[in-house]
């Protein structure tokens, strides 16, 4: 029953009474208890609550009552999204016992859509990282090879989808944290346009970059989830109004024909990647070409500066956002703090892990007197140049294609001693957040070790409908998304 779990099939089967939500929820919970001790995708599982939610949907259907668009579908959420059930830890000791007093906007949306929430997934602490190794609470491995990382920071969400430990998951993406783990785990991951999905109840990392999105086994499921998540929310002041950008029907968009598709690519970006990634991206472009798409070569001269700009801007925002962890209102307080300054400085020193401390320090440095112009202001100007690169590319083509990451999933521990090397692996994903445009990762091949490779499709702001449609074409001609990791 848990083979080839898709949201679109399952919701139909449940709505038609062919499958009971309670049965499928129970089956997935059983898989979690059998397999997750070796994978480590979940930080918490709400078995009783999930079964109650499933039963409620089954009861509604039996009574002939209307149900929501995710009725009875078991979903996992990243543990930086507030949910009043259980804890929301952000993978951090500082929030190790935090029970949110409210639900995130996206959690409200899932519940209103009658979804079943299975549990909370592991992440790099405060979503800062590219491998989930920075989680202060547990390790997550890649279901395709347990000696390798699942990617990050939404590594738990990606691993749970890939391993069939949920039907779909939510992640968050500040510099690639949905797309890169999706690529490493062989699933679909969508970072929507900045402002498309409300960030209310998402624990903030880099507020001008953060965006929540779906992680699924196929493109259609990503469309179904985005439909539920997208829209205006007055509690997030950067949430886009429907007058600025109406939410289209993403499922209808999927069915529409694509004619005269123009795909931009930057030859060096593809050549720079490791050979298996390079070859898979080239094959994907060839496939589109064979289907009638025009490939348009473009240059993006400022793209190469995106990592430098990002690690100023994101850390500056993080240093400000994480100032709220003060040991006073919620979260960890050091038992050895003797005065109020030590309540701050000891609680934070004991509660945060190394990467979070590094980023707070870097951001504080970049914003500090005497360095603000040289670093922060400079980075904001470069951000404008990077956005211009995208605008110019999109003037010539419908979308841009490139790798998600330069390599497939790397070994656990391989990059942990050198933070800069870890940062540099985010070269293809970070510029998308700086420009605020949407980006999608879909499975497009495997390397010699049978590790998945992702194709990144990037479009102008609010072009999610078109990106999903373009991705669906590739998916309909290939079977990479149907392949699953084998594990016992």
């Amino acid at each position: 029953m848990t083979d080839q779990l898709t949201v679109f099939k399952l919701k139909q089967d449940i709505a038609a009474g062919r499958i009971k939500s309670r049965e499928i929820t129970k089956a997935i919970l059983d898989r979690i208890s059998r397999y997750d001790s070796a994978i480590g995708a979940y930080l918490s599982v709400f078995a009783d609550k999930a079964l109650q939610q499933a039963q409620a949907v089954d009861d509604k259907i039996a009574a002939g009552q209307p149900v929501g668009p995710l009725a009875g579908v078991p979903i996992a959420i990243k543990d930086n999204l507030c949910y009043t059930e259980g804890l929301t830890t952000c993978g951090s000791k500082i929030l190790g016992n935090f029970k949110p007093p409210y639900n995130a906007h996206v959690v409200e949306k899932l519940l209103a859509a009658d979804a079943v929430i299975l549990g909370k997934t592991n992440l790099d602490e405060f979503a800062m990282g590219s491998s989930t190794e920075n989680s202060g609470l547990q390790k997550t491995v890649n279901p395709w090879d347990k000696t390798r990382v699942p990617g990050g920071s939404s590594g738990g969400s990606a691993a749970s989808v890939a391993a069939g430990l949920c039907c779909a998951a939510l992640g968050s993406d500040t510099g690639g944290s949905i797309r890169q783990p999706a690529s490493f785990c062989g699933i679909v991951g969508l970072k929507p346009t900045y402002g498309r999905v409300s960030r209310y109840g998402l624990v903030a990392y880099g507020s001008s970059l953060d965006q929540i999105g779906p992680m699924t086994t196929c493109v259609k499921d990503a469309a179904i989830l985005l439909q539920v998540l997208a829209g205006h929310d007055e509690r997030d002041s950067t949430s886009v109004s429907t007058e600025t950008a109406a939410v289209p029907d993403y499922l209808i968009a999927l069915e529409q024909a694509v004619t005269g598709l123009k795909i931009a690519y930057v030859p060096q970006f593809i050549e720079q990647a490791e050979a298996p990634v390079r070859d898979a991206i080239k094959s994907a472009l060839e496939l589109y070409k064979s289907l009638g798409a025009n490939l348009v070569e473009v240059q993006m001269p400022h793209f190469d500066y995106s990592i430098a700009a990002y690690y100023v801007i994101a850390t500056a925002e993080a240093s400000s956002n994480l100032a709220r962890f003060d040991g006073c209102h919620y979260g960890y307080r050091s038992p050895s703090a003797r005065d109020y300054v030590e309540v701050y400085s000891k609680s934070r020193a004991e509660g945060f892990g190394a990467e979070v401390k590094r980023r707070i320090m870097l951001g504080t440095f970049a914003l500090s007197s005497g360095y603000y112009d040289a670093y922060y202001l400079k980075a904001l100007k470069v951000r404008n140049l990077i956005r211009k690169d995208f605008t110019e590319a999109f003037a010539k083509a419908d979308c841009l294609m490139m790798p998600v990451a330069p390599s497939t999933a790397f070994k656990i521990g391989e990059k942990t001693n050198d933070p800069l090397q870890m940062y540099l692996a985010d070269i293809y994903t970070i510029a998308v957040n700086l420009a605020g445009v949407p980006g999608l990762s879909i499975p497009c091949g495997f390397d010699g070790n049978r590790l998945p490779i992702g194709l990144q499709i990037i479009g102008p702001t609010f072009s999610e409908d078109k990106l999903l449609r373009i991705a669906a074409i590739f998916e309909s001609k290939t079977d990479y998304h149907l392949q699953k990791p084998e594990f016992k």
Partner: protein, 102 residues
């Protein structure tokens, strides 16, 4: 400008960040932050004299809502995660000394 962050600067930044770091952490971060900051100098290769800074990818405006009172969290929910409390207050160590006259 020097590309290196020296140990003294790291201590100052740790202080500003309210992070009570160990000597070992200060040593580690001095090296790591130096190499990251050195990498960030790459931004100086670009001439940005006539470029506007971009703080937000979308045009963002002030968002107002009608000034109508509405329910908020409530005392118990707001205090539920407090590390320490007394009655309806967050409890913290004494801030002013007894002789400050405040």
């Amino acid at each position: 400008m020097s590309n290196q962050i020296n140990r003294q600067q790291v201590e100052q930044v740790a202080h500003l960040s309210r992070l009570d770091l160990t000597d070992q952490e200060l040593d580690l971060f001095s090296g790591q932050l130096s190499s990251i900051v050195e990498y960030i100098q790459k931004l100086n290769e670009l001439d940005t004299q006539n470029v506007e800074p971009l703080a937000h990818s979308l045009p963002v405006h002030n968002v107002f809502r009608p000034d109508i009172p509405r329910p908020s969290l409530g005392t118990e929910k707001a205090l539920a995660n407090a590390p320490d409390r007394v009655d309806d207050f967050f409890k913290v160590p004494q801030i002013l000394d007894d002789n400050s006259g405040a």
